[in-house]
Amino acid sequence: MWEVVDSGNLLFARNQMALSLGWHIVFACFGIAFPAIVVFTEWLGHRRGDPVLSGLARTWAKAMGVLFAAGAVSGTLLSFEMGILWPGLMDRFGEVFGFPFVLEGFAFFVEAIFVGVYLFGWNRLSPRAHMLSALPMVVAGVAGAFFVVSANAWMNNPVGFSLDADGNVVDARPWAAMFSPSTWPQFTHMWLAAFMVTGFLVASVYAVGMLRGRRDRHHRLGLLIPLAVAAIATPVQIGVGDWIANTVADNQPAKLAAMEGQYETTAGAGLSIGGIYVDDELRYALEIPYGLSLLVHHDPDGVVPGLEEFPADQRPPVNVVHLAYNAMVLIGTALLGLAGWFGLVWWRRRRLPRTDWFLRAVAVSGVGAVVAMEAGWITTEVGRQPWIVYGLMRTEDAVSPAAGLAWGLVAVVAVYAVLTVFTVIVLRRLARGRETLAPQEQEGVR
């Protein structure tokens, strides 16, 4: 059985996990959303016989190949880390929530195969066959995201098993475990986030180019298509944000209290923005009266439980969660503004807003979307603390006590620092349009 004392590994393991996941997720977003955007552009270019569109699709496909490679290698490390860092979780609950990872394995297998086919087959397959070969990629990317997120949703909201008197799992039902109440809201939110991150980031590359004076059709279309995608996803995302917040309120009240920095259980609770939480009190925050009760219960007098309801050793670290949550919502609102501006001008005039301020806003929107997405994950993960499986298993009981584990963090930091530098160098070369090859392509065939 797992008898794990706090071996001093906890802090290191948490940071190692957070760094690896935080890195992987950026590339995962591209794996989910980019194939759809690329093949759409390819299709449009083919239908209109427009070489600019086809050229964009070609460039993006190369970037997709590089990003996919980065996602694949970082994902491989993650699947090692789940076991190496959190053996207590695997040992006790692996049979319940490991299953979606198996399905995820199949999804990524299909995705990896068709990334190879798609890039390799660019000039070798007929246009129709080539575009069709992107479809499995699109489907597999979405399915893969669903399966991993459902594993995470299970950690937030464990279902699909029973425990005996000693707390051992009996009667694991892996299919049921995939569909916890958090699964659909979390998946939908993540899926949309992937389109926002990919859309705004790609658009921002072209916005920077346009600000530097390259305002040709290539740059305009390169900005327009991904931005349109992101702009459609943004308002929906805000709506889903409300759904997911309600799910959290129903199932993880301690997380919600931490997100809001709420100590006392209050009826008609206000929505606090910013501030610092010291001595069980949120100071210097901006408060919108009744805001929280309205958001959570859609009723100004609804009762929102505060952190006082939970024993001190079952409260998540408030400041991190509260600030991360605020950051996500704030950035989300700002992006909604940008999407609205773009949408309005497009609807009225069929063109992009003409001011440079618009381009500047698009130029920072990519980083903004990434920050919002990372902040969302920090809210989810840190807000679940001290539990690794909400209400059932504490993170400190899951961590590996192996000697020397802390060095893993040092090594992972070093490896990822190098990897990040090179990834950026390679992507910049691609963005500048130099003749380069994606990893799945072959020398000598263009």
């Binding site: 699947s79 695997m90 020398e443």
Partner: protein
């Protein structure tokens, strides 16, 4: 066969596939490493790059597949093994990262210096990753992973004679497989001199692998008596089959029948792995945890079985399509 054995068998098939496809990938990197200076080694490097470009990512998902099936179906034993062996596993994972990234990025960088740096990183990690995986297998097979989380010695579990043997054998097998596979690829593309060069390499690597394997029997006898007993007892037919397939492969290589040599080599490698599995049966972690003891609940195993069956119906045609497209397209260009 029990349900647990079927599921474990599926994971084992995944492992064999990883050893064959992923192994040949790693081997390609090893030949890249030994190809010599930039000019002299160019032909070999380009050949390697061209052969693994479109397939390397798919080839590596086999590993993920094996891991996730084990952690779902055999959670406790999995947790015990990965925590005790976390050092070589982490190093192998770093190798996979370095290798994948370097291979992917070196095509996109311009300067010769950068290309060399990535090339070196690619080649070196191709050597280290199979070595550490081999060491992991050696640690498990020699019974150095006790049940319980991080219960084993985190150093001695992989720094020991059987693990070293496993590591060296893994590297050799990868190099051998790659050379055999590359012979065929080179000839198909009309590069007969390259095919000849890889043939020499394949013959050399095959002979060395065989010799190390034979010498290894002595190591196992001293260091892993239980495995030795299994291999020379119940596992003997499989071991002999492996030897026979290996010898056949060498003859086929000698007579330049590369396609048949591929099949024989693959069989030889699959048989070695099967020998290991048969040798340590019925234990998952010798000599403390049997397959049955390690298996998780019935519903989970059933779900796994369903997923594996349905999944392979989807997967196998996709994989075949990838390899066929790739081989055919390369043909068409020459």
């Amino acid at each position: 066969m029990t349900l647990a054995e079927v599921v474990l068998g599926a994971a084992f098939l995944g492992l064999v596939a990883y050893a064959l496809f992923g192994g040949a990938d790693f081997g390609g990197g090893i030949w890249d490493l030994t190809a010599g200076g930039t000019e002299r080694g160019r032909a070999v490097r380009e050949r390697v790059e061209r052969s693994i470009g479109p397939v390397w990512e798919a080839n590596h998902v086999w590993l993920i597949f094996v891991m996730v099936v084990l952690w779902t179906g055999f959670s406790g034993a999995f947790a015990a093994a990965v925590t005790t062996l976390y050092v070589p596993l982490t190093l192998a994972a770093f190798g996979i990262i370095g290798r994948g990234a370097a291979f992917a990025y070196r095509k996109s960088v311009g300067t010769l210096g950068m290309r060399r740096f990535f090339g070196a990183a690619f080649a070196l990690s191709s050597l280290l990753t199979p070595f550490f995986f081999g060491a992991v297998v050696g640690g498990v097979a020699s019974g150095r992973v006790p049940p319980g989380i991080a219960a084993g010695d985190v150093v001695a579990s992989w720094a020991n004679p059987t693990s070293m043997l496993g590591g060296v054998l893994a590297v050799l097998v990868c190099a051998y497989l790659a050379a055999v596979f590359l012979c065929g690829d080179a000839r198909r593309d009309g590069q007969d001199d390259l095919a000849a060069a890889f043939r020499t390499r394949a013959l050399g690597a095959g002979l060395v692998t065989g010799a190390v394997g034979l010498a290894g029997i002595a190591v196992l006898r001293a260091d892993a008596p239980l495995l030795f007993e299994g291999l020379t007892g119940r596992g003997l037919p499989v071991v002999l089959a492996s030897v026979a397939a290996g010898l056949t492969a060498l003859v086929l290589l000698w007579t330049r029948r590369y396609t048949a040599a591929r099949i024989a080599s693959a069989l030889a490698v699959a048989a070695i792995l099967t020998g290991w599995a048969v040798g340590q049966y019925p234990y998952l972690l010798p000599a403390s945890v049997t397959v049955e003891e390690a298996a998780t609940g019935r519903a989970t195993l059933q779900a796994l079985l369903v997923a594996l069956s349905v999944g392979s119906v989807v997967l196998v045609p996709c994989l075949v399509y990838l390899y066929v497209l790739f081989q055919r397209a390369t043909d068409a260009r020459t």
